[in-house]
Symmetry: C2
Subunit: 149 residues, 2 copies
């Protein structure tokens, strides 16, 4: 019951952030924004990974916070790839703009896996959490492989 | 009913991110992390402000996304003020570390106002949303006044 409620609310709040009118005045702003989001995601991933590997003690409450941060952050960077932001201080590959449909699909998968991880974190069960974390990490790699230099 | 459910889930997920063991190896990492969070918050604030002022069309769905981003992000920077991160590329004032209780209280207020804004955004009512936005903006300023150079 609790999981269902959480799922409902997560999905209500978490459609991908892709907006019709841009948040950014200049391509550099978009690059800076998406880098900030991915950097924050990396911290969440690192900390969750450390807990699952036993490098630091597993703390169910801390893990939940990380997974919730990750779920929200994972919906955020996608509006920050406007046309023209392929040049500059970025490792984003041109394929993002030439094969946008594939990119968008992988972005959606990644965000979905992050939401599932947040739901799994509610269980407090390391086995369920570990499986969800693995899927999400696969989603990271899968997108980087095709779209990041 | 919907609002109650959302409230419940928001508050479940959104205690402040203040962790016992640090996420950061070096003070510079913490500074970079909190700056990234505040930078992302500023984008959400700017966009919501533009919608409320009529600079760009009010889009209830977009506003909801911004408010949900803001609510999550507003719980995130607080773990990134460890001892020793008062020096370096930062405008954080020493009072954060000498008067931590006041800082923590203002941080909690700020995060609470952001959560209330996310709930208000669900209403789609610009009057309710505007009032919640004003409170949240006051929370920003109130903390900056005491703790940011």
């Amino acid at each position: 019951m609790r999981i269902t409620l959480l799922l409902t609310s997560l999905f209500a709040g978490l459609s991908l952030n892709v907006q019709a009118s841009s948040l950014f005045e200049k391509p550099e702003d978009a690059i800076e924004y998406r880098k900030a989001v991915f950097q924050l995601i990396r911290y969440q991933t690192g900390d969750m990974g450390d807990m699952l590997k036993g490098k630091i003690p597993f703390d169910a409450e801390r893990f939940k916070q990380r997974a919730n941060n990750a779920a929200r952050l994972s919906a955020m960077p996608w509006e920050a790839f406007p046309a023209g932001s392929d040049k500059g201080d970025t490792d984003a590959l041109p394929a993002i703009w030439t094969d946008r449909a594939t990119f968008d699909k992988k972005a959606q998968d990644f965000a979905d896996y992050a939401q599932k991880l947040a739901v799994a974190a509610e269980s407090g069960d390391k086995k369920i959490i570990g499986a969800a974390f693995k899927n999400w990490a696969k989603g990271c790699k899968d997108c980087h492989k095709s779209f990041q230099d």
